[in-house]
Amino acid sequence: MSLLEVRNLNVSSGALSLVGDVNFEVDAGERVGLIGESGSGKSLTALAIMGLLGEGLSASGEVRFDNEDLLAASERRRCELRGSRIAMIFQEPMSALNPTRRIGDQVGETLRIHQNFSRRASEKAAIELLARVEFAEPERYARMYPHELSGGQRQRAMIASAISCDPEVILADEPTTALDVTVQRRVLDLLDRLVDEEGCALLLIAHDLAVVSEVCDRVVTMYGGHVVESGSVAQIIDEPHHPYTKALLATSRALSVTESASGADLPSIPGTVPSAGQFPRGCPFRDRCDRSVEACVEMPPTLTEDTRTLACWNPVERVERVSDGAR
């Protein structure tokens, strides 16, 4: 029994299907990376898990957390779980923090809500939490307002708030995408360390396979609202079976500080991600895919083999392995 099981999750806006039949699970203490381009439905999947879908969007299927279906649960029950056992970190810490309240107040708020901490106790806990996320002078920063912090500091404050109630799983939606490289490094290392220390599970949403490969145990690739492939990081990196995963991998590999091929054509995926409802029938990736065959007009079934899943009619069989000699 996994900690978090997503079963046939569908998200739709009216008649328009945005996320279709998504299946994956996250074991206790496991780190899963959810990757795909903008418009692949990965963020909607995360919001659906949290029960935070916006107006006009509806979810169906099952999101089982510790064997309890969150989609069927009452809003009251979900509020109990959010922040205490399931925490979420957003991409833009500036817009996720309340500009009118002090950092210490906001970091300690989750404790006041879920563990009945007094204001004084939560302030004290917030300072400890800020110290854990590597603030040199936590007392001083606790008194500051979000706008007085840098982007990286705000994101660390968000992480402090997320871990405050010892959650069992943290959902992080592109937590480092808006940050500078050196700041991203620091936040990723911090997240990595804290998830280790807390022993909690992590669902990391990213568009960069490199980020996921550094932090996660398993990868779930999404495209057009569907899971197209999943497997361990080693499996996916060494032997991607889905052409989409392979293409993403090739791009991430080529765009790396260790690749020296200057001026060469970078591998990229032709075309753009269509807008919702504009994906082709059958396999959503087939019009951008260099391996598409006749069968692709039908939706490929998701095949499970040991620890991997794959939905493709014409998978990459032999490993066309790109040089990995850099390391």
């Binding site: 806006s13 328009l16 945005l18 903008s38 418009g39 692949s40 439905g41 990965k42 963020s43 909607l44 995360a46 919001l47 935070l52 916006g54 509020c79 959010r82 922040g83 925490a87 979420m88 970190i89 957003f90 991409q91 833009e92 817009s95 996720a96 923090l97 309340n98 309240r101 906001q106 970091v107 708020e109 989750t110 809500i113 404050a157 968000m158 708030s161 997320a162 939606d173 592109e174 995408t177 808006a178 949403i205 991600v273 269509p274 807008s275 919702a276 409802g277 504009q278």
Partner: protein, 302 residues
């Protein structure tokens, strides 16, 4: 859950939703969204009715709104006089219709005065944040501290009570509102990267105002005009009520309300009709303003 976690959906989610918006955007025909928005629909209908009654009253009213008929003074609503008659036997319905002329006239003209001066001044203050901008803002502050009522009393003392007094008083007192709204919205556009890009390819300040700033703030300004129009109707009624505006025999909602006071005991309905007219008209214009504002917000979400 905490603000921290629930505050907003991140950029990632918005990107997914952007795909949604893009498909919805194909249905950009403005009137469709207009009709789907109850505020702008109801507001629009009310405003249309008021305008229609004002236009009609220019050449037709059931009775002459000024015709005195002592024999039928203070008659209640009947088939002959739909809403009854006042203390001089004048037809209330006809007077309400004729009054809408004044309300719209005063409203339109004062909003015009406020915008003709306020918008350019606001643009100037935004474009020149230095000394010139500061001077404009301080002038706006001074005007702001000088309420419409006071302005009207001063003007009425100088030139006598008339429609012109009301128009000038309200118009001038709303200038600072437009300066502020225009300036703050224009500043957002002027600080945008597309204006930076335009400067980089050599667009001059005036051309930037015309091509980028004005089109981008137009909806906000129009929404603001509609909201202020509603306030103008209220202010005009108040000034008339105090005898600082429209002179006695001519019909206006304010003067009707004022004179009906003396007959509250005899015929309370006399007070109800002009009040109702004011409320509906104010409601109509402010709903319309809200609707336009919402329409803008929906668009800016793209």
């Amino acid at each position: 859950m905490s603000d921290l976690a629930a505050g907003t959906t991140g950029r990632g989610a918005l990107d997914d939703l952007a795909a949604l918006d893009a498909s919805a955007a194909r249905d950009t025909r403005a009137w469709r969204r207009w009709l789907r928005n109850p505020n702008s629909l109801i507001g629009g209908v009310i405003v249309l009715l008021v305008v229609a009654s004002a236009l009609t009253s220019l050449f037709w009213t059931p009775y002459n709104p000024l015709a005195v008929d002592p024999a039928h003074a203070l008659a209640g609503p009947s088939l002959h006089h739909l809403l009854g008659t006042d203390e001089y036997g004048r037809d209330v319905f006809s007077r309400l219709m004729a009054s809408s002329q004044i309300a719209l006239f005063v409203g339109a003209l004062s909003v015009l005065i406020a915008t003709v001066i306020g918008i350019p001044a606001g643009l100037l203050a935004a474009q020149r944040p230095g000394a010139i901008g500061q001077v404009v803002l301080r002038l706006a502050d001074i005007l702001y501290g000088f309420p419409a009522l006071l302005a009207a009393i001063v003007l009425a003392a100088a030139f006598g009570a008339s429609k012109t007094t009301v128009v000038l008083a309200i118009g001038i007192s709303y200038i600072p509102v437009f300066i502020r709204v225009t300036r703050s919205n224009a500043l957002v556009v002027l600080n945008s990267e597309y204006v930076l890009a335009a400067r980089a390819y050599g667009r001059r300040p005036l051309a930037i105002l015309r091509r980028h700033v004005v089109p981008n703030i137009a909806t906000t300004i129009i929404a603001q005009m509609s909201l202020l129009f509603s306030l103008t109707v209220l202010a005009e009624a108040a000034l008339d009520f105090l005898g600082l505006g429209t002179a006695a025999p001519a019909a206006s909602w304010g003067t009707m309300l004022q004179s009906s006071q003396n007959y509250l005991g005899n015929d309370a309905l006399l007070t109800v009709w002009p009040s109702l007219a004011i409320v509906i008209c104010v409601l109509g214009f402010s709903l319309l303003g809200d609707g336009i504002g919402e329409l803008r917000d929906a668009r800016s979400r793209h």
